[in-house]
């Protein structure tokens, strides 16, 4: 769409999110002969876990991406969905997406939401310093070409994701100083023992660990502060008893994943804190909308692939393969185990001081929130959560720290040019610029 011509597309199915769930669903829908439009914010498909640089598709993704490209599904990259609405008298759904400054409208009979998950960032002193990034964020930036050779890196957070990320950083030449898992040793060991049925996962974990073997991997440990002049230069870690200061150039700190649900909520689909609520065929509470993958609940790539395929079958009016249902159940069970094993400890709720910024978009410090205010009140009085990220970062944090009011999601579901909001099929470029 670089020539500036806006797009209006008609499809049988629109899929928002080209991670494993979206890719699997779009592929199978298109292979069944449906017109499919698959949208993603990135230029290339893959989502987070299958993110890749040109010519370096991860092995697990290759068969699917090959099939996708042959399936006839139309890939629309660099597209941020900003609105979702009924169209054509309720017969269709219309996705309004923005590609750079150009609107793209997709009208479809059915919609699959596969917008994935984001990381949960928890505020602590110094977390806004340049050089503090996420854990999945580190992976994403590395695949985007981030150079870390020679950089001292500390990785902190929770869950198995710490291992492949530390390994990727080491492979890319970073000097990993420490990998800090906040969960207790007992909890992590219990979880690891529970993986005896899938020894491959333990082997893989050991392989990752070997790649950063020179660095300690500690449990019961978390970051309490980052410091530096204009960028992160050192961090303090603690195990609740002893504090240590570690010099570093890069701090990767994030605590688990939360599902992205704004588009679902825009259409008033039922959601819970755990994800978009779907029936066993992946259909949401809206008759024309299905959801699959991390957006229905954090569960990893297997769950995403399987749910994408179940949704595709449902959208085709077919019964899904029974093995898919079994695999989904197993993935969900595993996710629940992981959730329990890596539950966030209470100390993480108390890292922020009154000076710590809790809303990065509006620079609201914790001390600006009067204790007697409800969170909804605090939002209104301080603009907490009313900035560009629309509460995605601070909302996930505050859900854990205290509470976060679930308010109606309104257009735009992501910040959008005013001209995009004026785009419509009869006037697809909205307003002449």
């Amino acid at each position: 769409m670089k020539d500036g011509r806006p797009g209006v597309m008609r499809a049988d199915a629109a899929v928002v999110g080209a991670g494993p769930a979206g890719i699997a669903a779009a592929t199978e829908l298109a292979e069944a002969g449906r017109r499919v439009v698959l949208l993603d914010e990135s230029e290339t498909p893959g989502g987070q876990i299958w993110r890749h640089r040109a010519g370096a598709i991860p092995a697990a993704a290759q068969p699917w991406i090959r099939r996708l490209r042959r399936s006839g599904a139309m890939l629309v990259g660099g597209a941020t969905a900003v609105d979702l609405r009924e169209a054509h008298g309720g017969d269709r759904l219309e996705v309004v997406a923005e590609r750079g400054i150009v609107p793209t409208l997709v009208q479809a009979d059915a919609l699959l939401l596969a917008g994935g998950a984001r990381e949960r960032f928890l505020p602590f002193p110094g977390w806004t310093l340049p050089g503090v990034i996420g854990v999945g964020g580190a992976q994403a930036l590395l695949k985007g070409g981030l150079q870390v050779s020679g950089k001292r890196a500390v990785i902190a957070g929770s869950g198995p994701l710490l291992l492949p990320v530390a390994a990727s950083l080491a492979r890319a030449g970073a000097r990993v100083q420490l990998v800090a898992e906040q969960a207790s040793r007992a909890s992590v060991m219990r979880f690891a023992r529970g993986l005896w049925r899938t020894p491959g996962t333990l082997v893989q974990a050991a392989r990752y660990r070997a790649e950063f073997r020179r660095a300690p991997y500690v449990m019961d440990t978390w970051i309490t502060a980052a410091r530096g002049d204009g960028r992160v230069q050192e961090v303090t870690v603690t195990d609740g008893t002893t504090e240590r200061v570690i010099a570093c150039d890069l701090l990767c700190a994030a605590y688990g994943l939360v599902p992205n649900m704004r588009l679902a909520r825009l259409m008033e689909c039922e959601t819970s804190l755990a994800g978009v609520v779907v029936d066993d065929r992946q259909r949401t509470s809206h008759a024309r909308i299905w959801a699959a993958g991390e957006t229905t609940g954090i569960g990893g790539v297997e769950k995403s692939l399987v749910e994408g395929r179940i949704a595709a079958a449902a959208m085709l009016g077919r019964a899904p393969d029974r093995s898919l249902l079994r695999r989904r159940a197993a993935a969900i069970a595993m996710a629940a185990l992981m959730d329990r094993a890596f539950a966030l400890r209470d100390e993480l709720r108390h890292l922020a001081t009154p000076e710590t910024i809790v809303c990065r978009c509006e620079d609201v410090r914790l001390g600006a929130l009067r204790p007697e205010w409800s969170t909804r009140q605090a939002k209104l009085y301080t603009r907490l959560g009313m900035g560009a990220c629309q509460g995605r970062v601070c909302g996930a944090a505050l859900t854990f720290l205290r509470d976060w009011p679930i308010d109606a999601t309104r257009v735009p579901s992501s910040p959008a040019l005013l001209s995009t909001l004026l785009a419509e099929p009869g006037k697809p470029d909205g307003v002449r610029r």
């Binding site: 900035g387 959008a416 040019l417 307003v431």
Partner: protein, 382 residues
Amino acid sequence: MTTGSHADAIVIGAGIVGAACARELARAGMRVSVLDASFAGGGTTAAGMGHLVAMDDSPVQLSLTAESVRLWRELRPALDAAVEYDACGTIWVAENAEQMEVVAAKAQTYRAQGVACEVLTPARLAALEPHLCHGLSGGLLVTGDAVIYPPRAALALLDDARAHGTTVHERCDVLEILPNGVRTADAVLGAKVVVNAAGALGAALTPELPIIPRKGHLAITDRAPSFCRHQLVELGYLTSAHDMAGESVAFNVQPRTTGQVLIGSSRELAGWEPGVNRRVLRRMLERAVRFMPALARLVVVRTWTGFRPATPDKLPLIGRWDPVAGLWIAAGHEGLGITTSLGTARLLADLVLGREPLIDPVPFTPTRVLANGAMRSRGAVA
């Protein structure tokens, strides 16, 4: 069920009008208790633009708004930075020669009321606001108008009331107004003076009040500092505000101290449906872009709706409500609640305390609705 009588005055509603009333009564030495079903400034106050504006839809309205804007100016030094008082002024924008005649008449009217203003030629208008479209006929600059951030303004007024001994009970629903008192879920509270300042919900407690919700949409952009420097309103806004029926939009754009641009305005009768109506939003945004084409390139971060408490004669209800002992009304401010909160509070306190009233109180007399058939409370307004 407890019975209490610790207050001289109970104010129902901690929106900007209730907060202002509590402050005036508290400063006059009354023990005031404020009750709000949710939290201070959480209702219509939260949705509003925060435009402090002298508005001349009628001489009475001009009197109340002009006095109120003056009171805000006087209060300004006492307001903390979070209230974001910005003396940016208003420019009323004229599209054609006919509207410039309206501008000339408006200027005269304003000046007679002591409201400073300057008629703008097209060149001067363009110099002041370069992003306005070409072809406009000029405008009227009202320098004394300003912009504030309503939720913090309500909080500031309430904090001032607290400093004068007022108690505030949030998340406290008033179920019924009684003679010289109110009933909540847990108690019956008595007071010499009860003020219904419940805004758009005022009619739920005093059913004869012809206050209906008049829905409006707003959109706010990401930061675009210096995009516009004044609140910009088309003259057609007055027509939009004036017509009680149907759906209308008007160009109304505001610079916030954050650098964000707030875009309004729309009016429709849609009951209490809070959802953003795409069609109305589109009409509103299209109108805005017509006057300021460069708005199309700004990024919209949020949209929302609010319910203005509207009355059939477009004037608020301020004063005693005779049918119920001890009851006073301070409600029905439509789109001028933020501006006229201070004038309303001063006038109400004048009446309660028997002081010389700030302005002629007669047009605001709440019981006018009982005498005048056209003002009777109805489900829908013709």
